[in-house]
Subunit: 229 residues, 2 copies
């Protein structure tokens, strides 16, 4: 399996975490989506990461669609560790929270942080490159506080974010927090419950791949790879 991704695209990170839970180690192909390369647009006309490609199968584009596809083709094999529960009502809650983080938190927080602080370093001026926009960053740093609080509230009320078992909801939330954490933009002191929940996830062997990522000339925050942050 090939995973077309960017190391700091939060949706790509979500799929890396999901694949790791399945024990799948994909070949990683880095994409810079702002270059709009024709061979990548052929895999995903929407021009967005992540996309998975398996031999003799059509490409599967988009975080939510990949998560459903993996569950449909391999979910039962995970047994008790299945990432999408069996009951329709429980699946609703997992999907609601997965969309909350992949769609809402992305639009309000991580899209801004990653674009302004990372992608723009690599974009040419006509692709939207340049210095980060301070107003946009300020909004993202305000918005993350409310998402962190919601995560803490869920983690305190339940064992995992969507219920008794770890699910796509936890991995989506952790993927988004992980890019903000690399950049030092998570106010961990503001929510002990969210912090304890994230520490549990971060200690999983499946998280190691993300913790090894780095950006040349932009080292990770002190908390990023520290399991006792």
């Amino acid at each position: 399996m090939h995973l077309h991704h960017h190391p700091f695209c939060p949706h790509s990170r979500f799929i890396r975490l999901v694949l790791a839970e399945y024990g799948i180690e994909p070949d990683l192909v880095e994409q810079r989506v702002w270059e709009r390369r024709p061979d990548f647009l052929a895999l995903n006309p929407a021009g967005e990461t992540p996309v998975i490609v398996e031999q003799q199968a059509p490409s599967v584009p988009g975080a939510a669609i990949i998560a459903e596809y993996l569950d449909e083709t391999r979910g039962l094999a995970l047994g008790d560790r299945r990432l999408l529960p069996n009951g329709p009502a429980e699946r609703v809650e997992v999907r609601r929270l997965m969309a909350w983080f992949n769609d809402k938190m992305f639009l309000e927080v991580t899209d801004h942080l990653v674009r302004e602080r990372i992608y723009k370093r690599y974009m040419k001026a006509d692709q939207g490159g340049g210095p980060p926009d301070a107003t946009v960053l300020r909004a993202a740093r305000t918005n993350i506080r409310y998402h962190l609080k919601y995560i803490g509230w869920l983690a305190k009320a339940r064992n995992w974010l969507a219920g008794e078992r770890m699910s796509h909801a936890d991995l989506a939330a952790a993927a988004h927090l992980s890019v903000a954490d690399y950049l030092g933009d998570v106010p961990w002191d503001e929510d002990e419950d969210a912090k304890a929940w994230y520490a549990r996830l971060k200690s999983r062997p499946t998280f190691r791949g993300l913790l090894n990522d780095s950006i040349p000339g932009m080292p990770a925050s002190k908390t990023y790879a520290d399991l006792d942050f």
Copy 2:
């Protein structure tokens, strides 16, 4: 079943079309999401329409999540008319296109049209109300041409947008086009294939509910309810 919706929210219209294909007539509850009413936020913390509520079941929020839930609980009963195909690869294509229209076309076209031309009429100034923003409308009217062309290209290459059978992809595309059509913002003359495909959908009895909708003081375009537009 209750459907919390707005008559001109394209995601709500998508679910009305889906429910009609199942033969379900929900009780409609109109929501003005910009009012952020606490009883509605309790049903969907994201504060967005649509949401379905069945007796003795948790609420199901969001167009994509409702579509999956209905397929999981009632899809098999549709037999050959099932709106999400049985094979994983075919499901990927239906979900990709459903997301294309519900997410991408929404952000680029219908969110702008509906917000600027309809919702703002009902919003107070502190809720974002006021006259439509001409620049935003111009962008939406440019963007719709490319979505219409994509629909035409798919409709010509296949029987329905995602393959041999009608699916969530067709109903999502039709729902978004229908609000633009009410407003007279679909350049039908630019794509005969898209027009012929839409005429097929519009003639279905399941479409009638939408064609009866109207906004006081803002009549529908001439093409809207005309089956031979």
